[in-house]
């Protein structure tokens, strides 16, 4: 018995000695991911976590620098034809992690596959975004070989467009347009591409060393074959999926993680903590939170929201400043335009599309008297004195905002009653598609750096959160701006997009609320993390971690 006891004690002591010391190693970068990586297959990834990990490992033709400018990546340079409809990219000598050269065929293969699979981001190839020749037909099932991409030689990649797209080079930094090594893809078992370090091939800054679908912990190491390997300072880093911000905060204090996102209600306590206050950083994003009104006259509350005055009343009864200061609390900024702040700069002036927040002050703002006037009009037009509306929202952190909107609207608009309907995320979208809602708390992140990434949401055949609103004049403006008469006229297009936004806000199709900001805690020894508001959220190519 004594021998056994001794043996156990020895084993525990050895285990402790062997493992106890490196838990405090804090010169490694350990980053929080707020949700699981959905897929590392560029044609299937749909979420910000996946985009980020893919961009760590794969380079596209172009990339964005710290200021959001488009700079070359795999493409050393590119030429545009005079009519703006043909782009010729000249590739540099880059290699995949297995030593294969990155060729134009890798792009052709990935783009065709993307068109053929026609997944959620397939539309990026089509006529509402990149306008690649024949993309719409390919997305509907035509032969992918008819897609307007070709590789005249291994170092030249040519894209033909249906119409000129002014922001086309910036699109090339988005993961949809990244290459896949065809030979490698065909060498892994069907359906298993991108499900483990062995079935995923990098050409970018890092490569996977530990990963599986749904992994709570992802390890990356530096890719020595990367064309710009000299730029990469980190030997590698790891991601930890942490869904609770309380857990994230404790892990940061514990130095188990050195870059985490925290929630708005933690900000105050962090600011009061002398050890943490200096590590706090507010990072603007391009995500717009807004209220979506279901205008379908057939919806279950009689379609009262088809009345523009009722929508305007609600939009003007919401105090957005109070919302961000007292309920969101993470540095998010009140927004009075249909586009987020600091997004989509004009190519000449550099001014952001929604810089002038007071442009629609007469229809979007907080003004109780005006809201009540709109409400009185709505009451007389609809011949009703009271309105009962349900407000649907995903219960993953929007509760405080939903409750605030309810109390503000009910207090400022007598006769309007809001019923809160929190739902899990999967149910939230099924309620919306099945038309089972009046008002939805919605948000949208830009996929590319152009106002169109938002404005196309509200066309008649836009995305699922479509408000059931249809306005031919609006649809026409959007069509003019994508493939129509303004396609080659930058300023004309800019003005037309502004007119489209005007229709949206004057009719209160949506009520914009705020532009989301993240509050992050970053250890002082971590430097050079680039935060971007479009596509990939964080880039670690210039990141260094010093000793603390």
């Amino acid at each position: 018995m004594k021998k056994l006891l001794m043996a156990i004690l020895c084993a525990v002591a050895m285990l402790t000695a062997a493992c106890g010391d490196d838990s405090a190693a804090d010169d490694k970068l350990k980053v929080m991911l707020g949700s699981n990586v959905v897929s590392l297959d560029t044609s299937q990834a749909t979420d910000l976590a996946s985009f980020e990990v893919i961009a760590d490992c794969i380079d596209g033709l172009m990339q964005l620098d710290a200021n959001g400018n488009v700079i070359p990546a795999i493409a050393e340079s590119f030429d545009v034809s005079e009519d703006g409809k043909t782009y010729t990219f000249h590739l540099r000598d880059a290699k995949w992690a297995n030593g294969d050269p990155v060729t134009a065929d890798d792009f052709v293969f990935a783009w065709r596959r993307h068109g053929q699979q026609s997944n959620e981001y397939g539309y990026m190839l089509g006529s509402t975004v990149a306008c690649v020749k024949n993309a719409d037909a390919v997305l509907k099932g035509a032969d992918p070989k008819t897609l307007g991409v070709s590789a005249p030689d291994p170092k030249t990649f040519v894209v033909e467009l249906e119409a000129p797209v002014s922001f086309f080079p910036s699109l090339m930094s988005f993961i949809t347009f990244y290459p896949i090594n065809e030979k490698f893809y065909n060498s892994v078992a069907a359906g298993s591409y991108g499900t483990s370090p062995e079935t995923f091939l990098s050409n970018g800054a890092f490569k996977l060393s530990s990963y599986m679908p749904g992994a709570a912990n992802i390890q990356l190491v530096k890719n020595d074959q990367y064309w710009d390997a000299a730029r990469i300072k980190l030997d590698g880093f790891s991601y930890q999926v942490v869904s609770s911000s309380d857990n994230a905060l404790t892990a940061f204090k514990n130095k188990s993680l050195n870059l985490v996102n925290i929630s708005g209600n933690q900000v105050k306590s962090v600011k009061d903590d002398a050890n943490l206050a200096n590590d706090l950083k507010v990072v603007p994003t391009g995500m717009l939170y807004y209220v979506s009104f279901n205008q379908d006259p057939k919806n279950h509350h009689g379609g009262a929201l088809a009345n523009a005055n009722l929508r305007l009343a609600i939009s003007n009864a919401i105090d957005r400043e109070s919302l961000v200061d007292n309920f969101v609390m993470d540095g998010s900024r009140a927004t009075y335009r249909a586009l987020p702040l600091n997004f989509a700069p004009h190519v000449d002036s550099g001014e952001y599309f929604a810089d002038d927040q007071k442009l629609y002050a007469d229809v979007v703002g907080f003004d109780v008297d005006r809201a009540r006037q709109f409400l009185d009009k709505a009451k007389s037009e609809l011949n009703r004195d009271s309105f009962e509306l349900n407000l649907i929202y995903s219960n993953d952190g929007s509760s405080a905002v939903a409750q605030a909107i309810k109390s503000q609207v009910e207090e400022n608009l007598p006769g309007v009653e809001i019923k809160l309907q929190p739902t899990p995320k999967a149910e939230y979208f099924s309620n919306i598609t099945s038309n089972n809602y009046d008002i939805a708390l919605a948000n949208w992140s830009p996929d590319y750096n152009d106002p169109m990434t938002f404005l196309t949401l509200w066309t008649t055949d836009g995305c699922e959160i479509s408000e059931h609103w249809s306005e031919p004049a609006y649809d026409q403006l959007i069509a003019d701006c994508t493939t129509g008469r303004y396609a080659t006229d930058y300023d004309g297009r800019w003005t037309a997009m502004a007119s489209a936004e005007k229709i949206l806000l004057e009719q209160a199709v949506i009520a914009p609320l705020y532009t989301k900001c993240y509050t992050v805690l970053m250890s002082p020894n971590v430097e050079g993390v680039e935060f971007q508001s479009v596509g990939v959220e964080r880039v670690f190519k210039d990141t260094t971690v010093g000793k603390q």
Partner: protein, 313 residues
């Protein structure tokens, strides 16, 4: 005996079939789509429903599903990880959960048995009271409170263990998750051991052994423990399955890629992944039913009265 076993196996298969059928129907009538619809157009959703055969009558879908199961496949996910094949991912997760589950069972039964034996030997004394308090606490404290407590104190206040599970340091980073899971088994095993030991110690044959002059460790080992352990084993068996399947919260808190986390992801993701939920439920149910089957058969072997009464019934 052969009849008894055959009957038991048949019943188990039937139970599993009923479970699969009920789950299959329930999951299809429950709200929520099986795929993320946020960026999908109506056309794409229709196409996806067609691909997954969701437009067919539910019975036909069930027949398709069963034939797939019988061919040894769980199919592909409907939304989770974009339709990657389920089996390899699930096996990897089962492996992780299993390893931590086994560690936790080893720890739980060792501590539980020790507590139970010590309490029984010191019946009515201070130590006995202490053991009773521990086992009551074990049942009363919600396991996630205990998990967060452990993580807070032993990874944050005293930063000895890693805060998150780390696959690169499997053993060391499994210790806290395993201990945090073992709370229930410690208290259950301790309680049962104590009661069984006391019962056996008061039995006539132990008294006889004592009257023959047998005392101390030898008496405990040869007569008391051996007889007390049989009912305890039957308590541990279902606990094993509970640990392997019921680790959802633990896996979320410590970030373990196990089946519990997989189940949560399948339900709480952008869409409810029908095939993952079904596959995992089938695995969980099979484990439970399998364990019960083994127990039933063992009971039959140990105690002839059970198989006789089964025959009469």
């Amino acid at each position: 005996m052969r009849n008894y076993i055959a009957k038991r196996i048949l019943m188990s298969v039937l139970t599993l079939f009923v479970i699969v059928f009920v789950l299959f129907v329930l999951i299809r009538i429950m709200p929520g789509d099986p795929f993320p619809v946020e960026r999908m157009s109506a056309e794409m959703i229709a196409q996806k429903r067609l691909e997954l055969g969701l437009n067919k009558p539910i019975l036909e879908q069930f027949v398709d599903y069963m034939s797939m199961l019988l061919s040894g496949s769980f199919g592909n996910g409907t939304s989770l990880y974009n339709g990657a094949p389920i089996k390899p991912i699930m096996l990897k997760c089962l492996e992780n959960s299993f390893k931590i589950g086994v560690l936790s069972i080893l720890f739980g039964t060792t501590v539980g048995l020790t507590l139970g034996i010590v309490a029984a030997l010191n019946r009515g004394k201070f130590v006995d009271g202490l053991c009773t308090i521990v086992s009551i606490l074990g049942v009363c404290i919600p396991s996630y409170v205990f998990m967060i407590f452990l993580q807070y104190f032993f990874a944050y206040k005293i930063p000895f263990f890693p805060y998150f599970f780390d696959p690169a340091r499997f053993m060391f980073s499994s210790i806290m998750p395993a201990i945090s899971l073992s709370l229930l088994s410690i208290s259950t095993v301790a309680r049962f051991t104590r009661n069984e030991m006391i019962e056996v110690m008061n039995s006539d044959y132990v008294k006889l052994a004592q009257s023959k002059g047998l005392y101390g460790f030898e008496l405990m080992r040869r007569h008391v423990l051996r007889n007390a352990l049989i009912p305890i084993v039957t308590v541990i068996a279902p606990l094993v399955v509970d640990l392997l399947t019921g680790a959802m919260v633990m896996e979320k808190i410590y970030g373990v890629n196990g089946v519990g986390k997989l189940m949560v992801d399948a339900i709480a993701g952008d869409g409810i992944d029908y095939n993952y939920v079904l596959a995992l439920s089938i695995v969980f149910s099979s484990m439970y039913i399998g364990m019960m089957l083994v127990l039933d058969i063992l009971y039959g072997i140990i105690d002839p009265r059970i198989r006789i009464s089964a025959k009469e019934a």
